[in-house]
Amino acid sequence: MSDFSKVLIANRGEIALRVIRACREMGLKTVAVYSTVDEHALHVRFADEAVCIGPGPAKQSYLLIPNLIAAAEITGADAVHPGYGFLSERAEFANAVQKCGMVFIGPDPEHMRVMGDKVNARETMIKAGVPVLEGTTVLESGEQAVEAAKRIGLPVILKASAGGGGRGMKIVWDLEQIPAILQTAQAEALAAFGCGDMYLERYVQSPRHIEVQIVADKHGGVIDLMERECSVQRRHQKVIEEAPAANLPDPVRKAMREAAVAAARAISYHSLGTIEFLVDGDQFYFMEMNTRVQVEHCVTEMISGVDLVQEQIRLARGGKLDHLDRIWGARGHSIECRINAEDPVNFAPCPGTISALHFPGGPGVRIDSHVYQGYTVSPYYDSMLGKLVVHAATREQAIIRMRRALDECVLEGISTNLALHRWIFEQPAFVTGHYDTHFLERNLDPDAIRAKVELHA
């Protein structure tokens, strides 16, 4: 009933390639979609079929549901993989796919709605006994917000219920300011997300971002594949991820993993999912749930030996988890660097043509990238060129391996963040594994990083 043989990949870049690889290995036909800008992209080359769905701007192509559905219809695709970003967490897209009699490779639209509404998600987690930060439901008034802030203690953070991924948040350090800030925030949220609902939570000043990978089938089976630490961030965007998390006491790890499984069970979730926790010392709190494959899924694959995208597809076909308990066992340590076409210091995206390219190889090195020598990075989309992933027996060895791999990386013709990564891997805070989400922006040393650019020029 929910079986399928031809998958349309409603995405581009490295994740489209990643899904094509999984489909190939499972004997599934693939349909790529592309904008006129991506005509020469590798996902177009390596798919069995490809359909042009619009011009460069995502709103007119990768985000245009009718064109995507039509592309599936005219190619006879019977399943759709959304990748990450774009429409991957849009319930209406999953809905449209299912309405047209195709399988959406992901959870139910309902799961996306519940978790897309942050206040709703918060309430659900509280019921499930998953720890959340002291906070409120949707705020009715400035007074109510002030009362809550008094009860919780400053600083507090105002969050948009429709936000997420770091968007629509305001930190407040002063009770007087709360009503004013709330008003502006509500207006902004309404403009940005079409919903002005705001809620309030205690603001943690030195948080770590640690998330747990969930794998759930349609028969009630739920397991986790351990955690990933993603605290190296800039502007709330992940730069480096690793698994397992460093310096995480085993009892805390155990409790987090159990809480994540409980969270998934609470909404009878199925497919891949990620429960993001905010970690404050030995305490952890539910932040949000991502109902799709993550950019950083690779580090979990490296330590677990599980092909997560193939799992996701198997689960969408109604497959059971049973076998996983048998085959997987954590092994070693894995780290991922996101290689972006951007200025290594101010993070300004730098489109252009790659004039020279050499990716590292050898033992314990994995490359997931859609670029090649001569590839032109367009200004329309995400600036990520690919992911450099290493695996080794220990975290220390993984760091050494990543340094080696970064030194082998040659990417010319455009500006990249390679120098930033080379610099990060020399920072004591990172090397010792004692860092929080402010590590990068607080320690950023422009001169030192620029120097690395010169060194490898």
Binding site: A41, V51, P66, A70, G374
Partner: protein
């Protein structure tokens, strides 16, 4: 070797020239004196130039619907297009030349179409989108058969602008 008795330039001299011709990647080198003239030229080895684009060009050769672009066009966003004016599909979907199965088609070869006039329908998700001509023109050729799938940019009609 000694060519002192001849007017020919010393062979060693010529080979030195050839060396730097190669070393500095000249495509043409010419030396002339009253009595002597040496000229070197290299065939258009744009080969080096081409290669760079190949990995992008190659893709299209088996996977994609668009025509395989020339290596050098590979980094351009605009697909290679034939000459002339066309009405292309702004949607992905199924092409219909007529409003309903047993009605005449919206237009025909040779007929003149005004800007804004409906020339066909592209159906997607059960939505029948009427496609209008963006400019006044004469229909010269139907390029897509009825109920054939079309993607964004597929040429539907070859036309002559008015």
């Amino acid at each position: 070797m000694s060519d002192s008795d001849s007017k020919l330039p010393d062979i060693a001299y010529v080979s030195e020239l050839a060396k730097l011709f190669k070393r500095f990647h000249l495509d043409e080198l010419e030396i002339e004196t009253g009595e002597q003239r040496i000229s070197m030229r290299r065939g258009g080895d744009s080969g080096a130039g081409m290669t760079m684009g190949v990995p992008m060009a190659a893709p299209m050769t088996y996977a994609a619907p668009a025509p395989a672009p020339s290596a050098s066009s590979s980094s351009l966003p605009i697909p290679v297009e034939a000459e002339g004016d066309y009405i292309t599909s702004p949607f992905v979907g199924t092409f219909y030349s007529r409003p309903r199965p047993n009605e005449p088609s919206f237009t025909s070869v040779g007929s003149t179409v005004a800007a804004g006039q409906t020339v066909c329908i592209v159906e997607a998700m059960k939505l029948f989108n009427e496609i209008e001509a963006e400019f006044g023109c004469v229909i010269e050729e139907f390029l897509v058969a009825d109920q054939q799938p079309v993607e964004f940019g597929t040429k539907l009609y070859r036309v002559r602008r008015l």
